[in-house]
Symmetry: C2
Subunit: 222 residues, 2 copies
DNA sequence: CCCAAACTGTCAGCTACCTGACAGACAATG
DNA sequence: CATTGTCTGTCAGGTAGCTGACAGTTTGGG
């Protein structure tokens, strides 16, 4: 279960700044969104692709007043609205947007860009499959552990006595990411604190003392 | 929840037969697989993409002796092994395979093909997200109903008194597709038969009398 | 600095679904 | 046609995790 769909291994923002993509860049328009503002919904008539310039977005599904977070995006990440998801600014954010038709036009003129697009889609697909694996096979505890392991790999900072984790997330935020209720996350995290595996620094940050206990049973090789 | 990832709206097989793709075709090699034979596993060292020429494949995830079926593929469908899935022949099948590196080379030489690849990936992604929606939000009953609705749209044949559904699947097969146990599917299907919503023709085929009761509560417009 | 709004912890039902078990139906292979 | 394996229906327990409730804490806006 991924903490977020980090796509920055392809340095999109840097790429777009370079002169050879100047004209490609023209297809994009920039806009600011305030915290909690919706950037797109499944009811948006025309598809578009967008790139996060600054801030943080949450991509989520919604169904009968319940929600499930598919991904958190940061500066440099890309997404497309062609799937029926919502995108919401978690803080004030700047977003570059291009209509999908315009973008397709760009692709035809810059065939090498399409290789990058294929890579990004591949990553997105891989992440989706990880989410399915979690939901189909694992209980809430293991999904939480997987989430923490990912967060450590992604943004954990080694420190005397453990790994510092500044998740900028509430219990509820985590619950939406791993597909469970706020209460269950709260209980499980406090269980970890009680058994000394993690220390609570403040509301937003944990110190992970022993990441070992998060590890899942290793797969049996065929 | 899709019955299968039908990708045939892009007529890949026809496309590959046409003369302009003759050289592209050269990159592919053909092989037959017997029923229940594995075509690829997550432990296969080198990635490849493959196209189903005939037969039926099951793409699935496995975790600690449990399985979850992501998709059923038929003639004309495409898949890539770059995600950690298993592919198994459900009946004797002919498969065209190309190494992913060779294929990437082909893409560079045929830029217009990459648009098709992007489309296929987009469809795969959309399907994954449908699966996530099912697992995250819906109970087993609704997942079964969604599966039946999809199957009807996909392969249902209108007939006096209902829609004929030749699913070539056992209760267990369905269970693996919707993420539940064999027993639960059996119970739910028999419940449908008892309340006259469907008639059992034989082991493999149902006659759906009233598809209306499968419909889920319509989404509240924002 | 104060108050409202947003978070957090915890607990007591409740229930959808899993598991294991077993008997009966069906299919296919010699 | 007999026999073996595969598929099906059903039931009785057990449990993970949901829901609602409520009190305590923290945060931030005015």
């Amino acid at each position: 279960m991924p903490a977020k769909m980090k796509l920055s291994n392809i340095d999109v923002l840097g790429l777009l700044k370079s002169p050879e993509y100047a004209q490609l860049m023209d297809g994009f328009s920039e806009r600011c969104y305030a915290k909690k503002e919706l950037i797109s919904t499944p009811y948006n008539e025309n598809d578009s692709i967008f790139i996060v310039k600054s801030g943080r977005l949450r991509i989520y599904l919604s169904y009968e007043d319940r929600e499930f977070t598919l991904a958190l995006l940061e500066a440099g990440d890309i997404f497309s609205t062609h799937v029926k998801t919502y995108a919401e600014a978690m803080e004030d954010s700047e977003i570059l947007t291009a209509d999908i038709r315009v973008f397709q036009q760009m692709l035809i003129q810059n065939p090498d860009v399409s290789i990058s697009v294929i890579k990004v889609l591949g990553i997105l697909l891989k992440n989706s499959i990880n989410i399915i694996e979690g939901l189909a096979f694992k209980d809430v505890r293991q999904r939480l552990y997987d989430f923490l392991l990912n967060a450590i790999a992604d943004r954990g900072v080694s420190q005397g006595g453990g790994i510092l984790l500044k998740l900028q997330l509430s219990m509820e935020d985590i619950a939406l990411l791993i597909g469970t209720s706020r209460q269950t996350v709260s209980t499980l995290v406090n269980e970890l604190i009680k058994c000394q595996a993690v220390k609570k620094i403040d509301r937003q940050t944990l110190l992970v003392v022993d990441p070992e206990i998060f590890k899942e049973p290793s797969p049996s090789f065929p």
